[in-house]
């Protein structure tokens, strides 16, 4: 099975992990949002996290990115423990994300939205900024060029000076992706990237996800609600219900799993 180690289909959880989650639990007061959640994301994989509303999918993302502290369990990224690190540190290690409900800096320009996310790469400090030294200007130019590069990849270069809030919905989604990519993350977390899109847009989005993944050698972990997206784009899926993993595997296998069908459609009690 692992003989032809080249094709992605053969990647399994036995390969060395880029991201490894071990026994992750998160309680909000008495509510157990995530319970003993363990999984791996292998380098170059495209993994989907699916499950009904309220299953705890976004909570898992918030735990990985350091927004929430875990009640117990640990998260390893490239073998390094990242649970307990602050969100900006996790980001700097190479995990970027987008949001289910778009969270752009609405009053900043499209260009500034992307430049902010490349912020920590700038080397010139406060003194250089105030003096507007040549070093500072070179730095600013580098940041701007890099931001523009990603805006063009996502077809937004014409919109650079528009305020983010004035973009149409689909462009806002793409801007979020540009912003997430600009710092060159190794792992990209997409939280329901197809939410609110029509089938045509969903098709284009899937194409986009595949192409940026190839182009930037990304590993992608995405939350999705729409089965069509998951089946079309994910190589492997993890299914959650009530904070726990109920199934893992290839999309077509998981689709047949009675527990998954039950979670999505409810039990068929007479």
């Amino acid at each position: 099975m692992s003989g032809s180690g080249q094709t992605r289909e053969t990647l399994t959880e036995s390969d060395p992990a880029l991201l490894e989650v071990r026994g992750l639990t998160k309680k909000f007061g008495g509510l157990v949002a995530v319970n003993d959640f363990s999984m791996k994301v292998v380098k170059d994989e495209l993994v989907g996290l699916i499950g009904p509303n309220g299953a705890g999918k976004t909570t898992v993302f918030n735990l990985i990115t350091g927004m929430y502290g875990a009640t117990s369990g640990s998260i390893l990224f490239q073998g390094m423990r990242i649970s307990g690190k602050k969100p900006f540190q996790v980001y700097q290690l190479g995990i970027a994300r987008t949001f289910q409900n778009i969270r752009l800096f609405r009053q900043l320009s499209v260009l500034d939205n992307v430049r902010v996310a490349y912020h920590h790469r700038g080397e010139a400090g406060v003194v250089h900024s105030v003096l507007r030294s040549p070093k500072f200007r070179r730095e600013e130019k580098r940041v701007t060029d890099r931001a523009m590069e990603f805006l063009s990849i996502l077809g937004l270069e014409q919109r650079r000076d528009a305020l983010a809030r004035n973009l149409p919905y689909g462009e806002q989604r793409r801007l979020e992706i540009a912003r997430a990519l600009v710092a060159g993350p190794k792992l990209l977390l997409l939280d329901e990237p197809a939410a609110g899109m029509n089938p045509f847009e969903v098709g284009r989005l899937m194409e986009l996800i595949r192409s940026v993944k190839e182009q930037f050698k990304l590993t992608v972990f995405l939350i999705e609600h729409q089965m069509r997206v998951v089946m079309g784009v994910c190589e492997r899926v993890v299914v959650m219900e009530f904070g726990e993993i109920i199934a893992k595997g290839k999309p077509e296998q998981v689709q047949q799993d009675p527990k998954v069908i039950e979670a999505y459609l409810g039990t068929d009690e007479p």
Partner: protein
């Protein structure tokens, strides 16, 4: 007419000093949604630092401004770390009450004899006063310095906030802290930078106030602080150009009230403006309607 122009110049002088204080109020509010009531006292400390720099250490005036700015920046960052940061996730009212506590502490601590002491001190004159006559309207070299320094600082601040990566990160933090954090911005550092810059401007304002109205004492920050706060609300709290506009209006209105009505009424008018703004346009002159703001 010349009387009017003369009062306008005097009003602008006061307004520019208010602007330097109001900017700190508005920047801090923009980034942590806190009215930092200790800000007027930071302004007072700035005036004293300038005083010591010139009177005791015999430093030239421009260096005294830098000393006051650096000292106040450090003080502002220190206050944020010990008083406000532990309350970052507490209800906003807790931080507000703490700010009042910090303010009272600074006022009363510096009032002690081993600190500055309650007695007013005469501010040093770094240079002789000269007045220039412009067709009946006189403008002093002190006024010119107040205008020049304030305008330079405000231009520098605007460029800093709009053009630099730190300014960009500050704006991002003020719009959405959580997202900024997830995009690699160190929010704690940005909050420190904001307190530092705001306090440095107040420090410069303190020195300018000292040379323009040459008597200082530990409670001198209360009134200018409150009026700068009104100015920030008038312009739209959290909006940087709003603070400048509001402060200039406040300075001019206050001076005109003294000149044309009665100097005993000027504080009543200043706070009357606050009440009026809150009743008529609570988001301030440059503020958007509330529904658009978050």
């Amino acid at each position: 007419m010349t009387y009017f122009l003369q009062q306008l110049i005097n009003g602008l002088q006061l307004g520019f000093v208010y602007a330097l204080i109001a900017l700190g109020y508005t920047m801090v509010y923009g980034i942590v949604r806190l009215i930092n009531f200790a800000h007027g006292d930071v302004f007072m400390i700035g005036a004293y630092l300038g005083f010591f720099a010139m009177a005791n250490w015999h430093l030239p005036f421009p260096v005294a401004i830098v000393v006051a700015m650096v000292g106040c920046a450090a003080l502002g960052i220190f206050i944020e770390r010990i008083a406000y940061k532990p309350l970052r996730n507490a209800p906003r009212i807790s931080a507000l009450i703490t700010a009042m506590g910090v303010s009272l502490f600074i006022e009363n601590f510096t009032n002690l004899n081993f600190m500055f002491g309650p007695a007013p001190r005469a501010y040093p004159r770094p240079f002789a006063i000269r007045t220039f006559d412009l067709g009946g309207v006189s403008i002093s070299n002190i006024q010119i310095i107040v205008f020049t320094v304030s305008i330079l600082l405000m231009v520098a601040l605007s460029l800093f906030v709009s053009r630099t990566k730190i300014g960009r990160a500050m704006r991002a933090v003020s719009l959405d802290k959580d997202t900024a954090r997830l995009m690699g911005v160190n929010v704690d550092t940005m909050i420190s930078v904001t307190f530092g810059i705001g306090s440095a401007l107040a420090g410069a304002g303190g020195v300018l106030y000292g040379i323009a109205y040459p008597q200082i004492q530990p409670l001198m920050g209360i009134m200018p602080g409150l009026k700068a706060f009104v100015a920030a609300v008038l312009g739209g709290i959290g909006i940087i150009p709003g603070a400048m506009l509001g402060a200039v209006i406040m300075g001019v209105v206050e001076t005109f009230t003294s000149a044309y009505v009665s100097s005993t009424l000027r504080d009543a008018v200043a706070f009357g403006i606050l009440i009026l703004v809150l009743l008529v346009r609570p988001t301030g002159l440059l503020g958007k309607s509330l529904s658009e703001k978050v």
